[in-house]
Each structure stands twice: as C-alpha cells, then as structure tokens.
C-alpha cells in the first residue's frame, strides 16, 4: 500500500507544479510605459495640427445577435440587440482611433486626474468603447439594482475581477502600460462586454454615430494612425502633419 501512497504523493506534487506553471508571470508583473527622453518637451499648441476623419463600412453589416436577458429579472425581459455593429448610412460607430506610432518619447503629456467613467446600466456597459490614459483613473460604477462582476482581461496589464453588489457602488482602476484594447466582461451576464483602449498620450478618440473622430493639438510629424473595431479588426494609415495642418482621412472596413 505504501507504493500507492507514493504514487498519490507524486500526483499531488505534479498537480501543484502544474498549478504553479499556470500563473503567467507577465500578467502579474508591473509593466510600465516608455520613459520620456531627457530633452522631451510639451507640445507647442501654436504649431500643432488637427487630424479629423471618418470610419465607414463597405457592404452590409451582419445583424447583431438578439440578447435575451431573462436570466436576471432585474435586467428586464426586453430583447435587445448586441452592440458590435452600429452602422448608420455606412458610418461605423464605436471604432477606437489612436496614434499608434510616431510620437516616440519626444513629448511630455500631463496625465489627467479626472477619471474616465464606465457605467453598468440596464445590464450594459456605457459606453461600450472608451479610451483612457496610462495611470489615469477609470471609475466603474453600477447603476443597476442587480449585482455585476467587473472582469478586465488585459494581456499586458494586470488582470482583475471584482464584484459590485449594490446600485451606486463605484470602484476605480488604472493601468500601468499602454494596451489597445482591453476587453471587459461581466461573467454574471454573459452578453455584457466593453473595450478599453489604454494609451500613453492624448491622441485617441472613439467614433460617434456619424463615424467621425478628431485628434487635436497633434505636434507636426509623420504618424501611424490605427483604427480598431471589435469585430472587423485593425487598420493603419500613415499621415504626415505639418505645422498648423488640418487633414482628413478615411478608414474603410469591408464586410463580405
């Protein structure tokens, strides 16, 4: 019988080792955004440019799936549609647009202390897509009479999952490294999801109902602009902005 117990001990040790190997060290480490160069400076508003644009969808967008919220009476029995494809006359809403490359570490940007707000209302995240700066507070609130869990699933930053049991409760989180995008979900209500774009500079926007965006006070230079959509993926464009320029670009996503 002692042989059986030796085998069992080995199984337990192996299970323990497997469990330890499952913790991804990259997720628990504290990542950081690139440090500014010694000669880094603030952006000169007098010479800065403006980049405007529009995101359009070519083709017919797939129908958003019907969401049945009957699993929680507090969410209501109404059947609503998902929010993945919000298209109005070809204009695509909820696309996150940001400067992906080109700023380097030449500039210093003050980090806003005012929190970006993300609410849970009628068992939906409002807004569905939002941007936040590195280390800027993100205030997550629950306006519903039911409970939610807030599960952030970053790849680079630290993963988290906490509960918000009562209406009116607020929690604040922040992120230590740029990451576009971080999915958020509520595991209680499987249809609830949101996407957070974390960037180290102020040049980002989310397209409105008209599919438009605007990046203001961009220093002159050549940049890679990225547009991200939760179903249609990413597109990039290279743009050169001169002093006091005002340019317009268009991103076109296609569906089959």
């Amino acid at each position: 019988m002692s042989r059986i117990y030796r085998v069992l001990a080995c199984v337990v040790v192996l299970a323990g080792l497997a469990a330890c190997s499952g913790t991804d060290s990259s997720k628990s480490a504290e990542p950081s955004s690139p440090a500014a160069a010694p000669d880094a400076r603030k952006v000169d508003a007098g010479t800065a440019a403006t980049l405007k644009g529009k995101v359009v969808l070519e083709g017919t967008a797939p129908e958003n799936p019907i969401i049945k919220m009957a699993s929680d009476p507090a969410c209501g029995n109404a059947e609503v549609r998902g929010e993945s494809y919000l298209v109005d006359n070809g204009a695509l809403e909820n696309v996150f647009v940001h400067i992906k490359d080109g700023l380097g570490n030449k500039y210093i940007f003050d980090t806003p202390t005012e929190p970006v707000k993300l609410d849970q209302k009628s068992c939906h995240y409002v807004p569905h897509v939002v941007g936040v700066r590195v280390t800027q507070p993100l205030e997550i609130s629950n306006s519903d009479s039911t409970l939610h869990n807030v599960h952030g699933m970053p790849e680079t930053n630290r993963e988290f999952n906490f509960g918000q049991v009562i209406a009116g409760i607020k929690n604040t989180v922040s992120f230590t490294a740029p990451e576009v995008m971080i999915p958020f979900k509520c595991d209680v209500h499987s249809w609830m999801n949101a996407y957070i774009g974390v960037v180290s500079h102020p040049y980002f926007a989310v397209t409105d109902k008209a599919g438009t965006f605007e990046l203001k006070t961009v220093p002159p230079g050549t940049y890679t602009i990225e547009a991200w959509h939760e179903k249609l993926g990413r597109q990039t464009q290279s743009v050169t902005l001169g002093e006091k320029d005002s340019k317009e670009i268009t991103f076109t996503f296609k569906v089959q």
């Binding site: 117990y5 337990v12 497997a18 469990a19 499952g22 409970l147 869990n149 509960g163 049991v165 499987s190």
Partner: protein, 325 residues
C-alpha cells in the same frame, strides 16, 4: 448500509461533475469573483434572490462541492469505524484528502482567473476523486465480498487496466481541449476542415484532433475488453453487465461528442458529454477492479477480528470445540 452510502456519494459526485461541467460550458467560472466567500457573503448564507445569470451555475457548484466534501468526511469516518480491511480504511481518507485538494484547486483557479493549468488540474482531480468513490462503492459491495470463485485471467486484467488508463488520459486531453477553448478548433465532424487530416495545424487544432484520435483508441480498448469478456467469460454476470454498460456508454459518448460540434458547443450537450465521460471511466474502473478481484483477495488482512468464544474458532486453533463458555 455503508455500501449504499458509498453509492450515494458516487451519485452526488456525478451531480458535482455535472455542475462543474455546466460552469465551464456556460463560461460562468468567474461570475463569483471571490473565494471562499460569495460576493463577500458566507457561501451558505448568500441570498437566493442574488442567484442570477452565471452565479446560479458557479454558486450551485460550490454548494454541491461543499456537500460532497461533507459526505466524504462521513464516508471516511464511517469506513474507519466499521471496515476491517486497512487499505479500504485508508482509501476513505485518501478520498477525503483528494476532495479537500480539489476544493483548494477550485478556489485557486478562481483567484488566478482560470489559468488552463489549474483548471485542467481541477478537472483531472475531479475524475480521480470520482474513481476513489467508485472504488469505495465497488469494494464494499456484497458482489465483491461474496465472490467465492473470482475470475483469474491475466490477459483480461491487462486489457481492462490499459483501457481504464486510456479513458483517464482521454479525459485529461478533453479537459485540456476545453480549458484552452479548442472545442471548436475543428468545426466539422467526422471530417476535419473537409479532410481526413486537418490541412493546417496549430496547438488548438492539435489538441482537438488528439481528442478525436483518443476517442478511437478508447473505443477500440473498450471493444477489446468487452469482446474478451463475452468470448471467454460469458456466464460471469459481474463482468458481462458492466461490459454491456460500457459499450452503451461509449457509443453514447461518441454521439454526444459529435453533437457538441454540430450544435456549436451547446452547454447542455457539452455538459452531458463531460458527465457521460465520467460514467465511462467509472464503469471501466469498476470492471477493472472486478477483473483484479483475485489479487485483492490475497491482500485482505483482517486486523480487527471480532471477539469470539472458543467454539467459534476453527479447528486446530488450540481451543476447545463445542464447549460453550
């Protein structure tokens, strides 16, 4: 009574595996973010009005797991009190240790956001614990105790043992597939992307395909075991009955596996596939134990002989016979 209770623990463990399967199939594993508390409440006082959405599955799983843990404590103590075989008494406490470790793994996987390694460990240990309860129920049964002429067939012992081990390995491969979200990595069945072999490979496709190959291997193992029993031991009901059950269960398992893919991983079908997989393993283990019955007989070492009077003892024991005290 003790055997009936052991059977009841097996039944509750099947229910627990079903609840765990539902948690994974519905993606509810993190719907309760804290452990061992539930949204700050004591697990047992969490209000039923708040059992909504994914919480219903995860919280039910925790409560059933606690119940099975409690039942296992009783089983271990009861076995210790009444069971004369030392190895069976130890088995009871081994089951208790396994269920405690299983609870800890369940908590760890929640706190570390379901890392595949811990979740696979949790799923694999669940089946080991189930095997322990099945063993307890098998070796405490009257069929086991009253066998006077156990089958002595070395080939059968080997085939049955290998088949049971293969089933367990297949279940671990299945758990690895589930917890790496590879259940639909090959979206068609019985072909793979319209071919016999997948035209493209990555880790998820490989683990999914390994599970399909495993299904073929396990089915062959079960056919070999059952075929051997029907050919060589057709009158041994203690072997033919579980062999028939095994054939039925493995056919059901392959069918459910196909429907998992055709339904796009419907949670109910997915869970039925997990539960039926456990039943295949449990049945094969029971059959294997019965094939090894003759070896166990030699291992029986009663150390708690009941107090007897001289006339109860066998002849040649040095006591007087026939004379009541």
């Amino acid at each position: 009574m003790h055997h009936r209770y052991a059977q009841f623990v097996v039944l509750c463990t099947v229910l627990l595996i079903a609840a765990g399967g539902l948690v994974t199939s519905t993606g509810s594993g993190l719907s309760v973010p804290d452990w061992p508390t539930t949204y700050g409440w004591n697990m047992f006082t969490f209000p039923m009005s708040k059992w909504v959405g994914g919480i219903r599955y995860e919280h039910s799983h925790r409560l059933i797991a606690s119940t099975v843990g409690f039942l296992t404590i009783i089983l271990a103590i009861w076995t210790w009190k009444i069971e004369p075989r030392r190895w069976v008494r130890r088995l009871g406490f081994t089951a208790l240790g396994a269920v405690i470790l299983q609870g800890l793994l369940g908590g760890l996987t929640v706190m570390f956001f379901l890392p595949p390694a811990i979740s696979i460990g949790h799923a694999s240990l669940a089946q080991l614990f189930f095997c322990l309860t099945v063993t307890m129920a098998t070796v405490t049964s009257s069929t086991w105790r009253n066998t006077v002429d156990p089958v002595d067939d070395q080939m059968l012992r080997r085939v049955a043992t290998v088949t049971t081990v293969l089933i367990y390995v297949q279940i671990i491969v299945g758990a690895t597939m589930r917890h790496n979200d590879a259940g639909l990595a090959i979206p068609d069945f019985p072909l793979a992307f319209g071919h016999v072999l997948p035209p493209d490979w990555n880790a998820r496709i490989a683990i999914h395909f390994a599970h399909r190959i495993g299904a073929v291997v396990v089915s062959l193992g079960i056919l070999a075991t059952a075929g051997h029993i029907f050919y060589h031991h057709p009158r041994r009901m203690e072997l033919t009955r579980p062999a028939f059950a095994l054939l039925f269960l493995v056919a059901m398992q392959v069918t459910l596996g196909a429907f998992v893919i055709w339904s796009g991983k419907n949670p109910a079908i997915n869970t039925a596939h997990v539960v039926n997989g456990a039943l295949v393993l449990g049945t094969s283990l029971m059959l294997t134990l019965r094939c090894h019955r003759i070896g166990f007989e030699r291992l029986v070492q009663p150390i708690r002989t009941p107090a007897v009077s001289g006339w109860d003892l066998p002849q040649g024991s040095g006591h007087r016979h026939g004379a009541r005290p």
